[in-house]
């Protein structure tokens, strides 16, 4: 994988991870163009793009777009599953994840990503193991993050989060923001 970008429906960058060395200027240019291209696509269109000489795989979860650029010979569908597994991880960690969790705790989102992908390759595909590693790190902190408490609060404050929707695809986690 060459890089991963998370951005909102408004085109705001929420997370970026680059696995290839690029200058800041190039990164910015790529981000800008790619965000534009992806946002312009309609919901019924396919999740793959041949963009420049890269293959871009993206998927939208609620208000967030997860977007990966992979090498041409890579498998598109498995890349979609990488995205999905990452969302599952976030979801498990944050309870039921929403965009705000990622905005306010983006360093956590990075840590989870780093446990899951190393150097752009899926390194630990077990959900359990990744979360264990993160939780161990959290335990090291004298006081645990109050993230969960905060989340509950947000939940009462009109923002509903994730919920499980049984559908054709089992265990598919949907992010829903009301």
């Amino acid at each position: 994988m060459q890089f991963m970008l998370l951005f909102s429906r408004q085109g705001k960058l929420r997370l970026q991870k680059w696995y290839v060395p690029l200058s800041d200027k190039e990164k910015k240019k790529i981000t800008r163009e790619l965000v534009q291209t992806v946002l312009a696509r309609k919901p019924k269109m396919c999740s793959f793009l041949e963009w420049r000489d890269l293959k871009v795989v993206y998927k939208r979860y609620a208000s967030l777009y997860f977007c990966c650029a992979v090498e041409v010979q890579d498998n598109e569908l498995i890349t979609l599953e990488i995205i999905h597994r990452y969302v599952e991880l976030l979801d498990k960690y944050f309870g039921s994840v929403c965009e705000l969790d990622i905005i306010f705790n983006f360093e956590k989102a990075y840590f989870i990503l780093d446990e899951f992908l190393l150097g752009g390759e899926a390194q630990e595909t077990s959900k359990k193991n990744v979360l264990k590693a993160i939780e161990q790190a959290d335990l090291l902190q004298e006081v645990r993050h109050k993230t969960l408490r905060r989340r509950e609060f947000l939940w009462h404050g009109h923002i509903s989060l994730t919920r499980q929707i049984p559908g054709p695809e089992q265990n598919m986690v949907m992010l829903v923001i009301y």
Binding site: C46, F104, T125, L154
Partner: protein
Amino acid sequence: MSDVVEKTLTALPSLLSLDSQPGSAKLSSTSKLGALIRGITELTSKHEEEKLIQRELASLKDQVSSPNTSMRQMKEAMVRAIYCEMLGYEASFSYIHAIKLAQQGSILDKRVGYLAVTLFLNENHELLLLLVNTVLKPNVPQRYDTCNTPLVEEKLNHPKEIIRRKAVLALYKFYLIAPNQVQHIHNRFRKALCDKDPGVMFASLHIYLQMIKGYKDLTASFVTILKQVVSGKLPMDFNYHSVPAPWLQIQLLRILSILGKNDQSTSEIMYDVLDESLKRAEINHNITYAILYECVKCIYTIYPKTDLLEKAAKCIGNFVLSSKINLKYLGLKALTYVVQQDPKLALQHQMTIIECLDHPDVIIKRETLELLFRITNAQNITVIVEKMLEFLHQSKDDHTTIDLVGKVAEIAEKYPLQTMNTVFSLGGDMIQPDIPNSFLKLLSEGFESEEENKKLRLFAVDSYILLLEGETRNLPQRFLQVISWVLGEYSHLRNDLDPARVMTLLTKLLEMRQTSSETKTWVLMAMTKLCSGEASVSIARSVCEDLSSSMDTVQRQRAHELLLLSQDRALRSQLLPLCSDPEPLEVDSSLSFLDAFVSEALAAGAAPYKPPHQRQEELAQQKALSLEPYELSLPINMSSSCVTGRQSPTLMSVSSGLSGDSAELSHKGGSTTLKLEGVKRVWGREGYLSKKEPVEEVAQAEIPSPLSSPNQHTGASGTSSNTHPPIPTPEPEQEKQQLASSLFVGLGSQSSLCLVRADIYSTQDVPSHSVAVFQYSLSVIRPVVHFEVMGMLSYQSSHKSHEVEFTYKLPLTNFIRPFTVSTEQYGAMWLAFSNDTKQNLNLVTDGQDSLTDTLNVLKGKLNLHIVEIIGMEGIVACRLAQDQPCLLHCHIHAGTLAVWLRSPVPDLPDSLLYHCQRALEGT
């Protein structure tokens, strides 16, 4: 703003109060980030955001450089710095502190430090070296330390599998960066492959995928691993949605496909396991499709086995027919991949492919084109290229365009003729002039084999003859030019083809009204090459007769050549040898071979050559050129401006009366219009018919009275005098109008270098002592700064014939009319026009309101319509014909009048601007 943000805003205050509760001191660190984020969401403009972030960065800078900042605060500051960088603001001051944090903090602080470092620094950053030293301390290897292989190697023996796994991945990265440096530890990789932990084994596959070629002996091991994985021998941890280790499976399949490529014995080892994989992957989930897709790719890459291929083909079919768009895309992609081996597969899915060609998703469309591109053959090429060009027209993305153009070119190499024919007839006159040129070059220089060349040329001749026999009216000019060149050059290759037949076809082109004069010269040239044999010569003769009186000198010249060469066989074969060598001609651009001629002429008293611009300058300086409306005796000023060098493509048609009003105008502007320095465009000139004037000068003097009639001013377009009540001469007039219009239509030859003159003789008798008035109207087809009207008058007096040439120059302003529009209409039109030009002009500064004054001057001199003036801006409109408007937007800028002209007519803004400049110069 989105719902999310709104909700956030409502939620935030309570959130913050929560943060400030005692006992949740820990949250205060994140609350600073929270406050920052909230602050940003409240802002309405980019500018405000910038201000806020700059403030934030300044306070961050203070904080990180202060010695009192604790590690925890530092960590928090780092998180904010990362956030600012993500928004696109530079926080380079924090880089060094990020490294410090990675060095000194607790394990958690280190983590943030490393995170910041990986996000901040790129490969070439100078701080990286510092980081490498840092990394030597903690036990998790980072991917930046390129020179630390021994250290990482050590970690390969670490008792914990997660560390071993990360070490292997780190080595993989080293391998990607510098393969030579890890060469000595290849056996270590093998050890990793045999590691008791499947995770470590999985990690090692990344390396093997890169350098698998040298490890054929491992095929059996990989097959065994895959078998174990497929049959679910791995721990449950590796399952993903109840599919065993899909990542591992896919990685293995990729390795196998590389190993089995073009290698039958290796491929045979893996047939079983591939079959097994296909069977197992039946659950309806994305991840199984991913495995299936990889499996199919593998099956088609390795040495083929029939029943596996059948199964794979069925899989592809399922993909293509799937209602899920992602699968459809992959199906098409797989088809593209396999279609060269198995074109029938594409046939099966014909209908789906056709549907996909019109799919609303461009990605699908493009993939379909890619597929079609792979199955291009001589029969379907026309349609495919057509589709590709169609897509090209709509495509806005440069990358796609370049890619597609490359593909069209690739097809063109395989099937040059068919492709280029399609490109020509579709691209029409839009295509760049060098495309037909390079195509002709390709034809004449040809390929390696002489046999191929001949075949290609013969094919070209045949197909073009066929084309010409059909409907030729819609063929683009450039294509006609190519056709005539090819026929002229290569018709002789086909022995059974009678040149006279080709000649007849070509004559048809000459007679077509649509054929431009440039094309006609190509056709004539081809005829010159062709005319051998009795029949051809007679065709040539009749063509020459027709064209010898052409308005276009180039055509006349060519026709003349044709006539001469068709009669002189020896000269023709010398000039135009049948199989011309592609040896490059040497062009002597200095025309040195004419030196002798020039010096001879100079010695004989000829004036030295002056380039056109110099001539014009001199003319302008003299200002002696009379532009008075012609009196009864025609002022004879022809020679002064007969030769004005290059001809610009000027199209005019003459068909109804020049009003006296415009003649007057031209007179007014006359003193200045001839200054032409700095004008790039060289104007064109038109010859046109003038009347025979049987009136002797003596007689003319006696008839002053009718001259006061406005008609007299039309002398510009050729006047004879008539004292008696105007004798209507409707017949010849009509005839002339027709003649004239047909004369000027299509007179746009870009290559005509000579003076254009009218050689039409009218033989109408006008009784002596009379004035005949003829009116013509000129309408501009292509604007230039000045139009030149030329004519010749011949008359007889006492059985002696006289000829008088005259030229008359009409500035563009004669054709400009005010254009009355409303501001709204103006606004709507403005955006629609594509030709524009901008310039700063002088202002009229004597009055109080210089803008109004200036625009009034323009209005007076150029006949423009002022639409509206608001403050420092004014909009003005004018037009040539009904549908040829030109809009001017003027505003005062730094003491000058900045004018912006727009028009749908090319060249009109430039030409008009010139006159605006002139009009304001005198003031």
